[in-house]
């Protein structure tokens, strides 16, 4: 049996799509248009190899100087500068168009091969990046001769047994400009960068991977200071065992309505209601209470700024500032319209991967309705929830119910996948508007069927049994 060996790239999400990594000791072709992220992916492959997997990497650039490359990646957190300083990444810049050389007759690329071999040996490189091969094609006019030499480079890569990433430009259609895919039989990856409706979309697709299964979809990805982040859509699997312990909702009265315990850890909670009913506050209570117990909470705010949230909560006696300062509570205000749905997804993915929260609050999920159609939003939310749930993280989402808030249909139709659904609505009474709260469903929890009243005051947040006439009941609690 000759099992294909793989090299872990260390790039978030990519190894899952590649079912383990790139073919070990072989060349992989990465192509796409200008600005698609080829060089960024190649650089991250090199640096992560060197720093995380002890595989030194040689990066040969035919376009940029080593200084420019180092500057470009200086702000990246995957450790470009450290790797170079530690001499586990070496950058060779081979500027082809600088010497105005004239071609006369047949040539070989032995000069390049000698240099590659020498540099690979000098640092014991196990990974190699050639960025990009098209520069060779623009340099030499005798393309027949060059093609033969390029195939020798690929052969040399296999002989050396270095795992190589070779980048090239996209030509017409789904092919590379210089037909380089013909030389690489092992693995070909296509990167795409489109801007639609002022929103940038990056996608990655594995075109072929000989001898290995791989994800076949187009995967959205993001380039952040932490590198490339890809969320494989179809590889989500529910591996985590359902936790049996509970998290307080942050409001004792509401805990009592949920069998005296609260939400299951790792479950999905939906809090829906009309504007002003206190959905966000209730979601924040979950974070505030559990941060006190040392849990980590990520608050994705799609409508309010951090300072607004802090101020509003302070007005009802909840101070989340200490949790933020301790690093237990991370506030991430995001404008829904700033990115496309896919970018939101990968962004959330990237933040969750780096912050490793116990609780994620999404406030509110309904703010996405401006950035896509119903079907896409639903699929986005399902993917976000699947991904967070698969990690055993508790997720609480607020959802704005249009109109009076009496409807039990949420706009985004995620209610079927949530474990616990809390509904808040305004109830007109003789005493004025009061907030009625009830548990619409709670999987696996013997919850109360009775109505509660949500009271927001400067003394804090409380949930009491809903008494029909409060004035008469007076101080009765």
């Amino acid at each position: 049996m000759n099992k294909l060996q793989k090299t872990t790239t260390g790039i978030s999400g990519l190894d899952e799509i590649l079912n383990g990594g790139l073919p070990r000791g072989r060349p992989t072709l990465i192509f796409g248009g200008p600005g698609c992220g080829k060089s960024a992916l190649a650089m991250e492959f090199a640096c992560r190899g060197a720093l995380q997997f002890g595989e030194p990497a040689l990066l040969v650039s035919f376009e940029e100087s080593a200084e420019d490359i180092i500057t470009n990646f200086a702000s990246c957190s995957f450790g470009c500068a450290e790797a170079i300083k530690a001499q586990s990444v070496r950058i060779d810049s081979i500027r082809l168009n600088h010497d105005h050389a004239v071609e006369s007759g047949e040539f070989t690329l032995d000069g390049l091969l000698v240099r590659l071999a020498h540099s690979v040996k000098s640092i014991g490189a196990r990974r190699l990046v050639l960025d990009s091969l098209d520069s060779l094609f623009s340099r030499f006019s005798d393309t027949a001769n060059l093609r033969y030499e390029v195939s020798r480079i690929f052969q040399w890569i296999k002989t050396m047994g270095v795992t190589a990433v070779v980048t090239c430009e996209q030509g017409d259609g789904d092919f590379t400009r210089n037909g380089l895919e013909a030389y690489v039989s092992d693995c070909v990856i296509h990167l795409d960068h489109r801007v639609a409706e002022q929103i940038s979309k990056r996608r990655l697709r594995v075109i072929k991977y000989r001898g290995s299964s791989h994800g076949a979809d187009e995967y959205p990805f993001l380039i952040t200071s932490e590198g490339i982040s890809i969320l494989p859509i179809t590889s989500l699997v529910l591996e985590t065992e359902a936790p049996t312990d509970f998290l307080s909702t942050g409001v004792d009265g509401l805990d009592r309505m949920l069998a005296g315990k609260g939400y299951y850890r790792g479950s999905t909670v939906l809090i829906s209601g009309a504007a002003g009913t206190g959905k966000s506050t209730l979601a924040a209570c979950l974070g505030a209470r559990n941060c006190q117990n040392g849990d980590r909470c990520l608050y994705l705010s799609f409508e309010e700024s951090t300072s607004q949230i802090v101020r509003n909560l302070r007005s009802i006696g909840i101070d989340i500032d200490p949790h933020i300062r301790k690093g237990l509570l991370r506030m991430e205000p995001i404008r829904p319209c700033n990115f496309g749905l896919e970018e939101h997804l990968v962004r959330v993915h990237a933040i969750v991967e780096s912050f490793k929260p116990d609780i994620v609050i999404i406030d509110p999920i309904t703010s996405f309705s401006g950035v896509g159609n119903r079907q896409n939003i639903k699929s986005l939310l399902l993917r976000v929830i699947d991904f967070i749930k698969a990690k055993g993280i508790t997720v609480a989402m607020s959802s704005l119910t249009p109109g009076s808030g009496t409807s039990e249909e949420t706009e985004t139709e995620v209610s079927s996948i949530v474990d616990t659904w809390i509904i808040i609505r305004f109830k007109r009474t003789q005493a004025g508007r009061r907030r009625q709260i009830y548990v619409h469903k709670a999987r696996g929890i013997g919850h109360t069927q009775t109505m509660g009243e949500l009271v927001l005051s400067d003394a804090g947040v409380a949930v009491k049994p809903f008494a029909p006439i409060t004035e008469a009941a007076g101080g009765a609690k």
Partner: protein, 111 residues
């Protein structure tokens, strides 16, 4: 450097400059093909630069650092280091007219 200077002894001067030309021929390994390129180069030099040229042959398989120092990626590569400006010719020099024009040796008018 794997130096093997070859110097002409006599011939008709052709280029304007009375300077001695310094040429380096970068090759990868010793093969009949390498010998052929060297032969071709000597012939050109004898015809146009007789008596005032020096050729150094550099084998990058033996001295890889030379490939880095002179930014060589293809072989054979002919480098004119003197007179200025530096000239680089890639290939087996079989297209003589191209070589001559790149070195500014053509046309050979002045006798």
């Amino acid at each position: 450097m794997n130096a093997k200077p070859t110097q002409s002894t006599n011939g008709k001067p052709c280029a304007d400059s009375a300077d001695k030309w310094e040429l380096i021929l970068f090759v990868a390994g010793k093969s009949p093909k390498t010998q052929q390129v060297m032969h071709q180069l000597v012939q050109i030099c004898e015809e146009h630069l007789a008596g005032r040229y020096g050729i150094v042959m550099s084998d990058i398989l033996e001295s890889p650092e030379q490939a880095f120092a002179f930014d060589i990626i293809a072989t054979p590569t002919l480098l004119r280091t003197h007179p200025e400006p530096m000239r680089k010719i890639i290939g087996d020099l079989s297209q003589t007219s191209k070589v001559l024009s790149a070195l500014e040796l053509a046309p050979c008018a002045t006798g």
